[in-house]
Amino acid sequence: MEQNDLRKWLVPIIFAAIILTAASIWMKPKPTEPEEESLKIGVVMWGHHDEGLWDPAAANAVLRLEEKYDLEITWAEEIVLTELESLLETLADTNDVVYLTTDEFEEACKTVAPKYSDVYWVQQYESKEISPDHFPDNVVVMNAYQANELSFWAGAIAAKITKTDKLGIVQAIPGPRDTRIMSAAFRSGAQHVNEDIETFRVVIGGYVDPIKTRDSVASLAEAGCDVVFVGMDDESGTLEAKERGIYSIQEYTDIASQYPDTIIGCTSWVWDVSLDRILDAIVNDRFDTFRAEHHEIPLTLEDRSLDIPTFGNMVPDDVKEFAEDLREQIIEGAVEILMIEEW
Amino acid sequence: MRESEPEQRTWSGETPSGTVDTTENENILEMRNIAKAFPGVVANDHIDFDLRAGEIHSILGENGAGKTTLMNILYGLYRMDEGEILINGKQVSIESPRDAVSLGISMIHQFFTLVPGLPVIENVILGQEPTKGPFLDLKRAEKEVLELEGRFNLEVDLQAKPEQLTVGQKQKVEILKALYQGAKILVMDEPTSVLMPHEKEELMKTLRQMTAEGALSIIFITHKLPEAIAASDRITILRKGRKVDTVEAGKVNQKTLARKMVGREVLFRIAKSETEKGGKALEVRGLKAIDDTGKQTLKGVSLYVLEGEILGIAGVSGNGQEELVDVIMGLRPATAGEVLVKGRDTTNSSPGKIRGLGVGYIPEDRLGRGILSDMSLGENLVLGAHKKRPFAHRWLLPFENRWFTNQDQIHDHADSLIVEYGIDAPSPGKRARKLSGGNIQKLILAREFSMDFNILIADKPTSGLDVGSQEHIRRKLLEERERGKAILLISEDLDEITMMSDRIAVMYEGRIVSIVPVEETTKEEIGKMITGATRKEHPAVA
């Protein structure tokens, strides 16, 4: 660097910096009255709490319980794995509960949680049943390993709705077992209703890619599907479905109210049922006993933590009734659902 | 970029100023005591120059005489320090090429400025495009250009791309461009140096035609006497930044011109001691090569250099010296002939190998080929020897290797050389690019001399340097000669050549015109030969 110019410029820059700093320090932060009884919870998510479909599922759960437990929520959003551990430590310093909204974070949770034993950790989990010592003692797991039943159910409903006997599936990424399980369960649900239903699948190769998603839904529509089951993290699939005048089923979060004429229903993962129990245990100081008997709380169709909350306008009542019956049957195990891993 | 157009129209148009050739004052251009100095050298020393309407006016002089500088000033590429420029008696200020063009001055550089990928027609109209609405009016442009072509028989295929054209055609395109820009004054810098003989004839004809109607005047920069005399009406001779004389082309012969051009004043000679000559250190037989444009510029050169002698190659640049040096150094493939270094054939072998045999090289392009501008003097000075002891050492490793550089050695080496060669630098850590031209040349000399070569190729070692460093460098060269080294000295400065060389080889148009011992010749004779005035077939030197 040319030193003389440098010297010439140090002064003004430093001045500007100082002035700005002073100005910013000058303006007071909003008075935040400290309520000591409020429970501080830090929510870690890889997207944003008001965006997409996966994260809002967890976020809404927390928000619904906000009044009940007088929560003070901190959103830690858009977290990449490279940053996770540092972040968890920062959160654990300031919060009573840390809520990890995907099992992608499990490793970090395992490493960090033991260091902060006075903090309660809630870990979302999707894949399979786990043993009590899979996680440290201060971690409770909310496990959605039965989600394939939900997909099965949705598939059956879709099969009732469809006129062309052709169903489309948009799967985010090819690899992980669970994404395949969802698709497979959806198909078998459909075939449970009607043997000769055709199902088509498109794999995107990422959870967010509006361009390809829309294109795939379009191509499925061209192939004659009139119901598409979209496992993406954005709504572009439903948008396209709306344009094509076909029906869609979105996963994870209930956004049916926004597209009443397009979305048959959303296979929602309602976390607040389980979260409610955990928080209740925490505020009543019986976390340890609770943890002792529930190291993991499965999401089930039974307590409606796996559910299709609202049906679209296009769903006739008989189908709704059918859905109810089928749900009962699944819960009783009258219909046994295979864990099909391969597409 | 359009604002130049109206002025240019009025200039070529029928406003009073346009009536050029009828006014009794015929000088459409006058340059009054133009002075321009570059650091270390005075390029133009109060030069007067005038140009009549419809004449071809040659500016004659050796390279470095200041011709090009003068014209660059006229064309707005340089700002003059003193002096004034009048066009039709009106004083004008020329800040940029754009101003020059708008005043009707166009310049055709030695190296053409054509846009590759654009067809000829668009190259011609570039900057002066005729438009119909928002679009180019290529039809009109074509009509006009064709009309120009017809008038001055400059036939070029308008749809061809520049890369498909020969050098001569490219030049025609350049001329067309100038004409299309409405040039009244056309400056041509060494136009013939790139042309084949028959193309030259053509060019001459064209120039005659263009000036015949008196609408166009041409300034013709050259260093070739016959052309100057053949082509032009008047000739202005420059030497070392001064104007020597302006003469009517008809009234002079080449002899007088040559004398005027190279000068006659005696300057002190460095005492050259007699050295006993050894065997042939460097020999070149029937060497042929082509330049970057694919033109054959080296047409069978044969010469040899003995140990302990300096062979000076006189000649104006562009006559094949660059290619000769490149081929000897292995930077350019030879199409024919062979190069022998100490009897060993090194034709088309890598530069590293050739240097390994002890060939030193002082390039003409110092910044581009000579130094590492962003590295320290020390690192510059060891370049080439960096693999040898003591600069490379085995460090702590037990076995013999040359992996690690020895900073202290490099530093001391640099220190001693800086003192020895009087390089003006505070410390070896200084960056080379911060040095002045003279010091850079000293740096290169120091590097080449410090590694023991027995053959040195010195390509214009003193050009563009101030007198002090020139003397210094010449002394060094002579010292090396006395140590029995063979030195091939390429230079355009006849004084230098005659002063330094034992024998002088004159190069003209890619051939050795003659090789004579310095005692048997005079500067005038050489001056004539380098300008092609006398075509003596050169004796069969083995």
Binding site: F200, P210, A218, S219 | -
Partner: protein, 291 residues
């Protein structure tokens, strides 16, 4: 079925097309624009931003995205053309800044926005922007080919010395081209957020900016080449999904986006191997100063 498929494929052509077009314009005048991806990202943000704050009009928002792109372009050209900083480095810096700023600003100054309006009149169920893109390609072709401005741009990119000697203001030409090009890139971005996704998601550009960059090189710096290149790519994506529907997996979905990149490397190496000019503007990335 067939025309329908083609239409649905074409409907996201503008994103790639506009971005490639913008980058092409600045490269033609001799300035790398390595910040394509970032500028697109910022375009996505500014589109949503304008939609939220400037009265919910798609058209105005697109215009706003265009303008922000223009501003970034001005910054780029000031740094590269006026200050003669290295274009590669500046490109990277701007990429960082724009992408960072887009994400940062969106989540600080905006609530989550959902675009409810849709694009204006549709012709053959393709929205105006599509035709606008084709139009601007045609326009660019004509300008480059048949106007003196186009001549000036080409001359500037190929041989600034000649252009300067012919009285063309090299710096001004580069300035305008870079700024305008970046504006198109911004437009592409805001189209992505406003029409394709109808909302904003982080990382929604998903590498398409660099794909556009690759397509410029793949099209060998000619307007038709780039047009067909981007069309080809769009169809590639479309066909790949349709093959999947048909149950054929002829290439993993992850690789579709980088096919142009591979193509570029092959094309350039081939051009180099046969010693042919790749058609790259001669002084691309080289700063010009009169001596």
């Amino acid at each position: 079925m067939i025309p329908e498929a083609i239409i649905s494929i074409l409907s996201f052509f503008p994103v790639i097309g506009l971005a490639a077009l913008g980058g092409f314009l600045s490269q033609k005048s001799g300035v790398w624009n390595l910040a394509l991806e970032g500028m697109m990202a910022f375009g996505t943000f500014s589109g949503v931003f304008a939609y939220h704050y400037l009265g919910q009009s798609i058209w105005i928002s697109l215009l706003f995205g265009f303008c922000t792109g223009f501003l970034w372009g001005i910054l780029l050209s000031v740094l590269c053309v006026r200050f003669s900083l290295d274009q590669i480095v500046v490109g990277f810096g701007l990429w960082f800044i724009t992408e960072g700023m887009a994400g940062y600003l969106y989540y600080t100054v905006l609530p989550s926005v959902r675009i409810t309006k849709t694009m204006g009149p549709r012709i053959l169920s393709l929205d105006p922007i599509f035709y606008l893109t084709l139009l601007s390609f045609a326009l660019l072709y004509v300008v480059m080919r048949y106007t003196k401005q186009g001549l000036a741009v080409v001359a500037t990119g190929e041989n600034p010395k000649a252009a300067d000697a012919a009285g063309i203001n090299v710096h001004r030409v580069r300035f305008v081209c870079t700024a305008l090009g970046s504006a198109f890139v911004g437009l592409a971005g805001s189209y992505l957020s406003l029409v394709i996704l109808q909302g904003f998601t982080y990382k929604m550009v998903a590498g398409y900016g660099w794909t556009a960059f690759a397509l410029i090189l793949f099209g060998r710096w000619t307007t038709p080449g780039i047009l067909f290149g981007s069309l080809f790519f769009t169809f590639l994506v479309g066909i790949q999904t349709r093959m999947q529907v048909a149950g054929i997996q002829f290439i993993p979905p992850e690789f579709v986006v980088v096919l142009p990149h591979i193509g570029v490397i092959l094309a350039l190496s081939l051009a180099g191997a046969v010693g042919k000019k790749a058609g790259m503007p001669a002084t691309l990335g080289v700063h010009y100063e009169r001596e």
